[in-house]
């Protein structure tokens, strides 16, 4: 019986620490702690709500722009502002791009090394790798010479005895069991994905000026004016052509590289379809409105809640049922330790009571994290691509149904296999494919609007604070790549009075609540086998499958 500590958890965004009790080679209990706090909810107070998005966007740059969107939506909701259809489209295109980009980086650069042994690639036969690649995909970059080149590059790196990013890896760990050819294939695609993502993100540069931290949002719409006849318009036919070209390439990359790779890797780790199950309750706020934001029924990814791994019933979402505990979090509430506050009435009073650094262990009996513990209808929820795909599947979203059923057939697994570590990975990949499929269509829709003479991109009726009521409250919900995101704003005398943010990773990585119930990570880690507590590869697998973002979670 030993306490193991993994801190820092790397290949995530932010500062996450996991402590776990290991009994007989398995985790018997776990504690997830966020160890960095900035206080952005406090920093935006007293500022102009129209610029809150610029501030809150800086909560995180890995999921850059998702907070910008939730923020402008919150203010638009408070002030009852409806955005023009073009703004909706631009926002959807940006968001879909963000999903695809984020998910690809997650799989290759944040997660793959949990399954892929770089040094294994040295033993691979490039010719066989080429054969393998061609057998699973049409992707043209698959010659023997190409894989030989990649292998040489890895060899030089290893022989230089300067392994760079890979210095600290768990090479040769017994939990790795991909054939060397798959290792080499994955390493090659790790490098290709690096190049791909930086090309692909140019969509954000066009529609947001830059990435990270796009700069084209506005309360009431977007700044990206469109005009079919103006060469200097942020969006014009030439820019649309460019977007379509980049988005089409992305679809090819997802279809021909990401999806085959995920299936190939997953195929070698079937046990991980049985490990890492979360709390069994899934939340999705729904995303990508296809009409007005109030028309929740027309969201591309539906809104809903699933309980107890039951796919037969989708419950509606009532945002007022969201509440946060701080019983085990380094905050105090005016009404004491054990209440849960809805974000509309939320408080942020940081109060550190943990051990004095440097410390070896946290005092997990007391408060032990900078994350609050959000609950929906007083239940622990899991959020993220898996939740979205399950809610969509259970709601009968036809495309999701087709994709999920197709993948399950290929993996020869029942839907219940999705409630697992690899289930999250698979769901994320399928979601990537789903959005990559739609990206070009949405861009073309923007072109059609533009060509038909609808150039409205911003609703300025309430831009002037003089037009606002003396006080107003609102919330903005969105599905960020990592899950359900909500911003709650209270405006008084044209300024922000209170601002509360409940973030995907707060849902997943939060600590226990006042009733002692574990957060999603803490549940998912239970029963995880640990071969070597000094080299916690298995912990990383499950934690990474959630794609943690701690800067988001604490903010």
């Amino acid at each position: 019986m030993a306490r193991m500590v993994v801190d820092p958890i790397t290949r995530i965004e932010g500062h996450l620490r996991v402590e776990a009790q290991v009994d007989g080679g398995k985790i018997s209990d776990a504690w997830s702690s966020g160890t960095m706090f900035r206080g952005i909810e406090l920093i935006v107070r007293g500022r102009d709500p129209r610029e809150a998005w610029l501030w809150t966007q800086r909560i995180c740059a890995v999921c850059t722009m998702v907070h910008a969107l939730a923020s402008v939506r919150a203010v638009e909701n408070a002030l009852d502002i409806e955005v023009p259809d073009n703004a909706r489209l631009v926002r959807n295109i940006i968001s879909a791009t963000q999903y695809v980009h984020d998910h690809i980086i997650h799989f290759y650069h944040l997660h793959a090394l949990d399954w892929v042994d770089i040094t294994g690639a040295l033993k691979a036969d490039p010719a066989k790798t080429s054969q393998l690649a061609q057998s699973i995909s049409e992707w043209p970059v698959s010659s023997t010479a190409y894989f030989q080149g990649v292998q040489n590059r890895v060899k030089t790196l290893v022989e230089s005895r300067q392994l760079s990013l890979f210095t600290s890896g768990y090479w040769g760990h017994p939990a790795y069991h991909l054939p060397p050819e798959v290792d080499l294939l994955a390493v090659a695609h790790y490098l290709q994905a690096l190049e791909f993502q930086r090309e692909f993100i140019r969509i954000h540069a066009v529609l947001g000026g830059k990435n990270p931290h796009l700069q084209s949002y506005l309360v009431g719409g977007m700044s990206t004016s469109l005009d079919p006849n103006e060469p200097d318009a942020p969006i014009n036919p030439e820019r649309i052509d460019f977007l379509v070209e980049v988005a089409s390439k992305a679809k090819t990359f997802v279809d021909q590289v990401l999806i085959p790779d995920v299936l190939a890797v997953a195929g070698f780790y079937p046990e991980w379809f049985h490990l890492g199950a979360g709390p069994g309750n899934y939340l999705s706020y729904g995303a990508f409105p296809q009409g007005r934001i109030q028309d929740i029924g027309r969201y591309f990814l539906p809104r809903g809640v699933l309980l107890n791994n039951d796919l037969s019933k989708v419950y509606p979402v009532d945002p007022s049922k969201v509440a946060e505990y701080v019983a085990h979090s380094w905050y105090t509430y005016d009404q004491g330790n054990n209440v849960a506050l809805p974000p509309a009435e939320g408080e942020t009073h940081p109060k550190y009571t943990g051990p004095k650094p440097p410390y070896e262990f946290l005092n997990v009996e007391e408060k032990y994290s900078w994350l609050k513990a959000p609950r929906y209808d007083d239940r622990v929820m899991e959020v993220g691509p898996l939740s979205r795909m399950l809610v969509s599947y259970a709601s009968g979203q036809p495309e999701v149904k087709a994709l999920v059923d197709g993948a399950l057939a290929k993996l020869k697994a029942p839907p219940a296999a999705l409630f697992s570590t690899l289930g999250r990975v698979a769901a994320r990949a399928l979601e990537t494919q789903l959005l990559a499929n739609h990206l070009v269509g949405w861009i073309e829709q923007l072109r059609r609007n533009m060509d038909s003479g609808d150039l409205r991109i911003h609703n300025g009726e309430k831009w002037d604070p003089e037009t606002w009521p003396r006080s107003a409250r609102g919330y903005g919900l969105f599905e960020a790549p990592r899950g359900s995101l909500g911003h709650w704003v209270e405006i008084e005398d044209t300024l922000i009075k209170n601002y509360q943010i409940v973030v995907p990773t707060t849902w997943n990585a939060g600590p226990r609540d006042a009733k002692g119930r574990r957060g999603a990570y803490e549940v998912a880690l239970l029963q995880t086998p640990i071969a070597d507590p000094e080299r916690p590869l298995e912990v990383l697998r499950t934690i990474h499958s959630f794609d943690p973002c701690l800067a988001c979670a604490v903010h």
Partner: protein, 376 residues
């Protein structure tokens, strides 16, 4: 440049970088750094050393924006920077190992490469309450920064947070956050402001350092002049509209579709020095003003507090409510003085009339009128 080809070690080829690509890349670096072409040889040989300099990238109170920006590097490509030019041994967001393995790696760098490695810092460093607002492996960010940055050969603070505390330090600065320079005084720091930094510049700084073993020329904020020497406004493609007086008056209006100047929408291009309009972002694709939104001066010192509110031309006037603009304060002053003056004029006239009527009744001086010798 045939002679250079002979200088190129074959190791380069083995790394999968073609000779031509590499030379192209080196020339590009020269251009970014505004160095004459005669330095090409030096750049080439410095960049193709078999033993690569070690770099550690520390993340504290950050949003990983600078890391993400780094991942978008195209000249050199991110793989080139991270794998070929340097040995990038510690960087939480992308490194392979976690926990103990990560800690040990960092300790090894500090020990084995003491005085030789490059430390990059991203994010602010909290100093309030003994630094409990950011700990890694049970140690505070401040503790780690002190150790890592005082044993390095060079420190690079990337992004506003690492430079001056950035967003985290904005009022009321709940965590006592500071930039590296202030949190760990005395260590040499090169600041690459911006929120985030533009990797095109950072890559150029790294290349400069690798080539000359020193940092490029710096401004008084220790920012490289080549990137921070000129205001956005002077390099902006909408500048002609500014000079001509053609402004976007409302979001989405005709001017915004024609690419007119965003000054009236609060553009802070006239405040910030940075090279966004020239190098642009994401492989030269665009930059904020090009997407129709004003610049927020994200590369200016303490810009969160000092360049905001972002949709107003000037900051709030201290001592007045935040919803009162500088202009309102100004007109208020004029109004008050005009009002008081008018009232005084009225008073004077009334007094004159009174005196006129009194004067006709009595003559003789009031005690008040005894006064005013110059000596008084």
């Amino acid at each position: 440049m045939p002679p250079l080809d002979q200088d190129l070690p074959s190791a380069l080829e083995a790394r999968g970088v073609s000779r031509r690509d590499f030379l192209e890349f080196c020339s590009l670096m020269l251009a970014t750094l505004a160095l004459p072409t005669r330095y090409l040889g030096k750049v080439v040989s410095a960049l193709s050393q078999p033993q690569r300099p070690v770099l550690v990238w520390m993340e504290f109170q950050d949003c990983a924006g600078n890391t993400e920006s780094m991942l978008r590097s195209s000249h050199p490509s991110v793989a080139e920077v991270v794998l070929d030019l340097l040995s990038w041994e510690y960087h939480e967001t992308i490194m392979a190992g976690a926990g103990k393995a990560a800690e040990t790696t960092l300790q090894n760098v500090v020990k084995n490469h003491k005085g030789k490695y490059i430390a990059v810092v991203e994010g602010a460093i909290p100093t309030a309450d003994d630094g409990v607002y950011c700990t890694i492996a049970g140690r505070t960010a401040l503790d780690i920064a002190r150790e890592v940055c005082s044993n390095s050969a060079a420190n690079i603070a990337v992004g506003a947070c690492a430079w001056d505390g950035g967003l985290v330090r904005a009022n009321p600065n709940p965590t006592g956050a500071l930039g590296l320079e202030e949190a760990v005084p005395g260590v040499p720091v090169v600041n690459l402001g911006g929120c985030p930094h533009n990797v095109a510049n950072t890559a150029a700084v790294l290349v400069h350092y690798l080539t000359f073993h020193e940092m490029p020329a710096l401004d008084p904020y220790n920012r490289p002049l080549f990137a921070y020497g000129q205001i956005i406004h002077d390099q902006c493609q909408r500048r002609a509209h500014y000079d001509a007086g053609r402004f976007v008056e409302e979001w989405g209006d005709e001017g915004s579709r024609k690419g007119w100047c965003l000054y009236k929408m609060g553009c802070k291009g006239p405040e910030a020095t940075y090279n966004c309009p020239v190098v642009r972002w994401n492989d030269g694709t665009s930059w904020p003003v090009q997407s129709g939104h004003g610049c927020i001066a994200c590369a200016a010192h303490r810009f969160w507090d000092w360049s905001s509110p972002f949709y107003k031309k000037l900051p709030n006037v201290p001592g007045f409510g935040v919803d009162v603009t500088a202009e309102e304060v100004g007109w208020g002053v004029v109004g008050v003085v005009a009002g008081v003056t008018a009232a005084h004029a009225v008073g004077t006239v009334i007094r004159a009339h009174k005196e006129a009527s009194e004067g006709s009744k009595e003559s003789g001086s009031k005690p008040e009128s005894k006064s005013a010798s110059p000596e008084a």
